[in-house]
Homo-oligomer: 252 residues x 2
Amino acid sequence: MKKKKKKVNAAILIIGNEILSGRTQDKNVAFISKWLNLNCGITTSEVRIIPDVEKTIIKSIKTLSKKFNYVFTTGGIGPTHDDITAKSISKAFKMKYGFHKEAYKILENYYGKEKFNDGRKKMAKMPIKSKLIYNPSSAAPGFITKNVLSLPGVPSILNSMIENCKKYLVKGSKVHSKTVNLFTVESHISKNLEILQKNYKKEVDIGSYPFFRLGKIGVSIVSRSTSKKILENVNRDLIKIIKNKKIEILKV
Amino acid sequence: MKKKKKKVNAAILIIGNEILSGRTQDKNVAFISKWLNLNCGITTSEVRIIPDVEKTIIKSIKTLSKKFNYVFTTGGIGPTHDDITAKSISKAFKMKYGFHKEAYKILENYYGKEKFNDGRKKMAKMPIKSKLIYNPSSAAPGFITKNVLSLPGVPSILNSMIENCKKYLVKGSKVHSKTVNLFTVESHISKNLEILQKNYKKEVDIGSYPFFRLGKIGVSIVSRSTSKKILENVNRDLIKIIKNKKIEILKV
């Protein structure tokens, strides 16, 4: 019998007024979500973007950590007054907040004793029993508290740290996907896609996304499944529909 | 006495597997959030990104519509089987789902009777007592059900429709912001910013965001308030701090 991996899911919690206000375009959701699926077989099932407000952070952490296998937080772990993620997580889990010994040492080494000022010391404060997520680009570590992994908001730093999350994560089944880009309109194939989806029930997710390219309207049909075999079957059926309808495929 | 506008807030609910999986980079959050603040004085207080799953959509709609003055949904109102936003909202509010008379007429006129196929007709299905949000670019209207405004996911179409949401919205106080970009590191000014924030309490939100530009590290200090006068005062105090610390300002 083929071993069947279980479904593992995650939520992403983006903490920061700058994302909510539209001042900063978030790039972490797409990056983390793709990385989780590709490297760990973990599916992102929900994202929330919330302000730098302690009560809101605590409530979101409590809700999401119960509901999903993992929660990734981004933002709010820097040296300034608006960085309140670590303290809020401590409160959410009723865990002691203070200097994390190893984090303190890492930062003291990195800056040198003289330049290790109060702002920088703040970055060593977190739930003291957390495990660290090492930061190869700017030293200040992220941390994992229960099933919550806390990373910084700056994408280049986050990206450099993500591999160090791997050892804390239970792996699940990777979702494979297949995209076919068609020069047609959605309503021309919507009936066929509906039947195709029904034939494969929950084994595959078929999505349809309009695009504009080369001055023409098109539709991307994206099929997603944990089984490559099923994806092949869906694709074979889809190609039949396309041929019957004489639809032009965009080759990319 | 100066009239005081009340605080009006909104949530944005992004519905779509393609955003959650990281396949598509969301651009609607930043656009809607900026537009709401600038044009209506409405603050975006939470964003959720969820999959095309009826149960999840219904639950999110119920929660967010109770918690915030308005909810904007994006995605899931097209002609294909994975477009289930309209039906889910009907279920959330226990309202009758079916052909909306005016929407049906608009679409029939747009496509012509012969080309008005089942897929296209589906776009006229929604809670039948909704009010329409007209769509100048591709006809298929959005709709408002109670305090929930439903828009399409394709950014160019959404952008063309947003002005038509205005008449349904109660206006609040616009949040003004002032940004000063400094060539320094956060920890060098974190103590001063903390005191500055405490001095102004809840009248202003001061955020600090690292950047990398021209090969140098910097910090953007963003102050946000509904009062321009208070922002000027904050800025005056901030300039004092910068001069005392001999920090270079990046002029943009």
